[in-house]
């Protein structure tokens, strides 16, 4: 094994951590297999078409599980290595090489991508298993698993690539998979529109990503992690800030952060396993991954860091408020996802003190949110695909396993002491307070609101009185669906062990640098107690509002403007429509008109002019021989006179 870089050096405080990988060898030679397995599955299933329906789900699940197995082996192998050698790079082939710019297709397996690979393939496999049950009656089940495999491939490319352009390949790949899966039931107009919206909004973010890569090419002649991280300290501050903001724009698109948040709620049109895998656990966290991965960029640009934190803070409150007003269980969870990713973004913006906690919260969120989405899917399955929580109630008896696992997720997300979310969120709030009052208070407030809306979901779905529609007979889902729920529920409960002895921070240190010291105005214990109190307050308020009295079977219409705004996604769509869509449509119509009438009109006008004038000239051809003769005579006379004039003059 030859180190590509002479010994790994710990970064100086405040500076970025250069990416210094070693060549993949031994066990790590098999790294490519992690991606190749689901890629094989996706290819076979897509080419096989309808033939694969009888066994496609098994193949897809097997490929995902196989990938998870390989990833686990790799992870253990990485654990066995010393800290300096935990960044492993496998060169596959040269993607493109033009002038002074080269992009390699190569994989980087380091502590950061390792946890992501495990999350993607692990949770991914569970969701594959769950989907076997959930999609059992769909006539295109083979296709569904093909898309799921395709998503896993793209997501793995995203986190394993070691060049920003290759990341972009995965980045748009997950966008495509998301498009296909949101629009899986494309015969529904709403699904088709939502899928398109998700792709287009993501593309706006992708403009940021493209421009970021272009900036890298112009500045460093490379877009590899190694090159950019090495060159970053020398880049001008303008370049650093531009890069930071462009990457933030990209992250906003993919992670549904304000102002590019609007697609996520609509994305719930997809089948519920999709919402769990893509729009909760993995894809939407890609933005956080990108920011943490680019820590060496943000180390040079405090401006962009503040922007990241601001986006995170705004989104965490934005999402939480939306989550409070939604009666659609999936949309309530989607608002919550937005909000939780806001926490991660906030943490990522804090810098080295927050990176590890961003990733930690990302992992625990991956567990409990996937768990709750799958739980919601299980409920919908039981309620004949009804998503309106006002038609639920008292399901805890009918669906005990779903209830218990959902409860584990619930306790985790609100940060009930001991559960996974408690550890991760608490750390973020702590770091935010150290960064500034505004961020700390905002994050604390968000925790309270989270407790409120999650308690609301819990009460409306499982606890309160029955409000079932007639003909609905809720029943527990088959074990192929409940087993993944149980596993994820368990992870939601005990996911906090990752923090034991500061393991997660130590593990990520080669990527993110050492966790900086932060000073708190009070002891962490008091702060934790404060957070717990706020959470408790949220729960109690929710109980007072939704737990005691009768709940209306339909959403009440006479509500405050806050509720109305939250029901309308805080007018995000209305804003986009008024500012971009309408003027855009007018512009397009105007341009089409311009093109048809003016630009093409000029062309056709010239043609008509020539045609018309020749038509006039043609009139001189009367057909009367004598007039021709007169013309000839006249011409001859003119010629003679002209000759005479010339000769005489």
């Amino acid at each position: 094994m030859t180190p590509l870089i002479s010994p790994w050096l710990p970064a100086e405080a405040g500076g970025g951590v250069p990416v210094l990988p070693v060549e993949a060898a031994g066990t790590f030679w098999w790294l490519w297999l992690i991606i190749a397995l689901p890629a094989l599955g996706a290819t076979l299933l897509l080419l096989g078409g309808r033939l694969t329906n009888p066994w496609g789900h098994l193949l897809g699940t097997a490929m995902s599980a196989g990938s998870f197995g390989v990833a686990l082996v790799m992870f253990v192998a990485l654990l066995g290595r010393s800290e300096e050698e935990r960044q492993v790079r496998q060169q596959l082939w040269t993607w493109l090489d033009v002038g002074d710019y080269t992009v390699d297709m190569s994989l980087l397996f380091d502590p950061l991508s390792a946890v992501f690979v495990l999350l993607i393939t692990g949770v991914g496999t569970l969701i594959h298993i769950y989907s076997i049950g959930y999609m059992a009656h769909d006539e295109r089940r083979g296709r569904f698993f093909a898309y799921l495999n395709l998503f896993v491939v793209a997501m793995l490319v995203l986190v394993l690539a070691d060049d920003y352009l290759a990341v972009f390949l995965g980045w748009e790949g997950v966008g495509l998979a998301s498009y296909l899966l949101i629009g899986f039931w494309a015969h529904k107009q709403s699904a088709a529109v939502a899928a398109k919206k998700a792709f287009v909004v993501n593309r706006v973010g992708d403009v940021g990503m493209s421009l970021a890569v272009m900036t890298m090419v112009a500045t460093f002649s490379t877009s590899s992690f190694v090159g950019v991280s090495a060159g970053m300290p020398e880049a001008s501050s303008g370049t650093s800030t531009a890069l930071g903001l462009l990457l933030l724009l990209a992250a906003c698109g993919k992670s549904a952060q304000v102002p590019l948040q609007s697609w996520l709620l609509d994305a719930m049109e997809g089948p519920t396993p999709v919402s769990a895998l893509i729009h909760a656990a993995t894809m939407v966290t890609a933005g956080v991954y990108l920011i943490v991965r680019s820590n060496y960029v943000y180390a040079e640009t405090p401006v962009a860091q503040v922007a990241v934190m601001a986006v995170g803070l705004v989104t965490l409150l934005f999402g939480a408020v939306i989550g409070c007003a939604k009666d659609d269980i999936k949309k309530a969870l989607a608002g919550s996802t937005m909000s939780q990713i806001g926490y991660m973004t906030l943490a990522a913006g804090i810098g080295p003190a927050g990176y590890a906690f961003a990733i930690f919260h990302l992992l625990t969120h991956g567990f409990f949110k996937a768990n709750m989405f799958l739980g919601a899917g299980s409920v919908m399955h039981a309620m004949d695909d009804d998503v309106d929580m006002r038609h639920y109630g008292a399901l805890s008896r009918a669906m005990p396993i779903t209830f218990l696992t959902f409860a584990a997720g619930y306790l985790a997300i609100i940060g009930f002491p001991g559960f996974a979310g408690f550890w991760s969120k608490d750390k973020i709030i702590e770091a935010a307070f150290a960064e500034g009052w505004v961020f700390g208070v905002g994050a604390l407030l968000g925790a309270g609101v989270t407790a409120f809306y999650m308690t609301r979901v819990m009460l409306m779905t499982f606890i309160s009185k029955k409000r079932w529609r007639s003909g609905v007979h809720p029943h527990e889902s088959p074990s192929v669906m409940t087993v993944p729920l149980v596993v994820l529920g368990a992870l939601s409960a005990v996911g906090g062990v990752l923090l034991l002895g500061g393991w997660i921070t130590g593990w990520l240190e080669p990527v993110t640098g050492p966790e900086g010291e932060h000073e708190l105005f009070v002891s962490p214990f008091i702060l934790t107690s404060l957070v717990t109190l706020v959470v408790l307050a949220g729960v109690v308020v929710a109980w007072l509002v939704f737990g005691r009295g009768e709940l209306a079977g339909t959403a009440p219409q006479r509500v405050s403007w806050v509720t109305r705004a939250a029901r309308n996604d805080l007018y995000g769509d209305a804003f986009n429509e008024a500012v971009f869509m309408r003027p855009g449509q007018h512009l397009v119509r105007g341009l089409v008109y311009l093109d048809d009438t003016i630009i093409d009109g000029v062309v056709n006008g010239v043609a008509a002019l020539v045609g018309g004038s020749s038509g006039q000239v043609r009139r001189a051809q009367t057909g009367f021989v004598r007039s021709y003769a007169l013309t000839m005579l006249g011409g001859a006379l003119v010629a003679v006179l002209a000759t005479l004039a010339v000769t005489l003059a």
Partner: protein, 512 residues
């Protein structure tokens, strides 16, 4: 002179065309097969040409040269460099695909199927000649000659508006050709003044030229190529032509013939008039960026699928021209690669929309809906073709589009930023069309649409396979293109931009 491989490559389809003309009408049913075999032989020869080509050597290869009209200095001179080879390959790859996809299209025209396929083959032969010509006079003659087959293909086998479209196309192209003819005459004067007249590219490149003369001649060539490409504002013949022609003709027109425009810009504008090219580049870049956005926006507003695809091409040609005139290696190589990739992706898009239109008898987007339910394979191919048109990473156009943008960013940040907005618009025009035709509830009128047949799958499969393969492995083609683009750029004489921060040796510690 070595073995005249290029002459044979161009001659085989021309001979095939003659053979088809000689084929009696009673045997018209055999015409597609004859044409297919002929184009496959040409493809085989094209592979031989590519195999004979030494990418590392650079310069013009497989050259042939003979005097043609000594008094004018015109030669019969052929040869390919990396750029020419790329486009020759595109031509020989696409023609069999077009023939296979247009199997029955010749039956419905004004003339017999024989003549349809004869014109297709004639076009292939002439296009190969255009891309391989290394003599300006020969290039000009072939450039004008390509108008003849395409005129008859549109005018003889198209839709109801075919005569209008064919005449509009012909007159527009002739106007450009006229300007080019003037410039060609001017080149004769310039080269005669410098000594013996010669139209050979290699001779003309070294001819000294006055600044004003060069700029005027440049303008003559550029306008002709801009009409051909087509760029805003001389693009309006394309939507009309594409809406009236058969899908196969549209492919030949947009994927192959229009490339002569951008190919000519690299080969002749940059090659012969380096000073004038630099002088004009700000205007051209502005026009190209505007074309990118304008084409995309107008495409969004189209109701006819064929016109929509035509307008997307206006946008894509904007990218290609942009890459050519920023004078960076990424831009130039990206543009050349883009020509190839755009050829593939637009061919796929035109053919698949053509198949869809043929099934339903209407090209209006509003007449479709929910087709993916009854024709999943067709929908899948449509989606892949569309995604390649919107430059999804992993499909071949992405690599070229990104290279163009990256190359642009290095010289003009503003142009790159504005052009990058085009990728959002691209997503809109493709996905809106896809959503309205393929997704949503199944329309009753579209319910009887059958899925793709075997012949149609066979025609589209090679395109999709190439699009996918070149998305992940573009390097073999780039290896061919890079030396040629490098030579052109060094001839233009613009210094390549240097990175601000040198990290070329990543295995060293960064400088303090």
């Amino acid at each position: 002179m070595s073995f005249p491989l290029l002459t044979i490559l161009g001659g085989v389809p021309l001979l095939g065309a003659l053979l088809l003309v000689a084929l009696p009408r009673s045997r018209a049913a055999a015409a597609p097969m004859v044409a297919l075999v002929c184009s496959l032989v040409t493809l085989g020869l094209g592979v031989v040409v590519a195999w004979q080509f030494d990418a590392d050597a650079g310069g013009f290869q497989l050259s042939e040269e003979a005097d043609w009209i000594p008094a004018l200095g015109a030669h019969y001179a052929l040869g390919v460099d990396g750029i020419g080879l790329t486009l020759v390959l595109l031509t020989v790859v696409l023609t069999p695909v077009v023939i296979l996809a247009s199997w029955r299209d010749g039956d419905l025209g004004r003339w017999s199927a024989n003549s349809f396929f004869a014109w297709v083959l004639a076009l292939e032969g002439l296009a190969i000649g255009v891309f391989a010509a290394t003599d300006v006079f020969l290039f000009y003659v072939l450039f004008e000659a390509t108008l003849i087959p395409i005129y008859f293909l549109i005018g003889g086998f198209g839709g109801p508006q075919r005569s209008y479209a064919a005449v509009k196309f012909l007159l527009y192209s002739l106007l450009g050709g006229l300007l080019m003819l003037a410039a060609v005459v001017g080149l004769y004067v310039v080269s005669a003044d410098a000594g013996a007249p010669s139209y050979l590219l290699t001779d003309l490149m070294d001819v000294p030229m006055e600044e004003t003369t060069g700029r005027l001649l440049f303008a003559g060539f550029f306008v002709a190529f801009a009409i051909k490409a087509p760029m805003f504002p001389v693009h309006t013949w394309l939507p009309d032509a594409a809406a009236s022609a058969t899908p196969g003709t549209s492919v030949l027109l947009v994927s192959i013939l229009d490339k002569i425009g951008t190919f000519g810009m690299i080969r002749f504008c940059l090659g012969l008039f380096p000073e004038a090219s630099q002088w004009a580049s700000p205007v051209v870049i502005a026009l190209a960026v505007f074309s990118v956005l304008y084409g995309a926006l107008v495409a969004i507003g189209q109701t006819d699928m064929r016109r929509l695809v035509a307008y997307t091409s206006v946008s894509h040609f904007g990218f290609i021209v942009l890459g050519i005139f920023v004078f960076t290696s990424q831009g130039g190589s990206g543009s050349t690669l883009y020509m190839f990739n755009h050829g593939l992706s637009t061919a796929a898009l035109f053919l698949v929309t053509g198949m869809l239109i043929q099934r339903r008898g209407s090209a209006q987007i509003a007449d479709f809906g929910g087709v993916q339910k009854v024709a999943p394979v067709l929908a899948g191919v449509f989606l892949v073709a569309g995604l390649s048109s919107l430059s999804l990473p992993g499909l071949s156009p992405f690599v070229s589009e990104f290279l163009v943008l990256a190359g642009t960013f290095r010289t003009s940040v503003l142009a790159a930023v504005v052009a990058t907005l085009g990728i959002v618009l691209a997503a809109l025009y493709i996905l809106l069309m896809y959503q309205r035709t393929m997704n949503g509830p199944l329309q009753a009128s579209a319910a009887a649409i059958p899925d793709l047949g075997l012949r149609e799958r066979l025609a589209l499969a090679p395109l999709l396979a190439l699009i996918l393969a070149l998305g992940f492995f573009p390097q073999p083609l780039l290896d061919v293109i890079n030396p040629a683009v490098g030579a052109t750029l060094s001839h233009v004489g613009v210094a390549q931009p240097e990175p601000d921060v040198d990290v070329s040796a990543p295995d060293e510690e960064p400088q303090p």
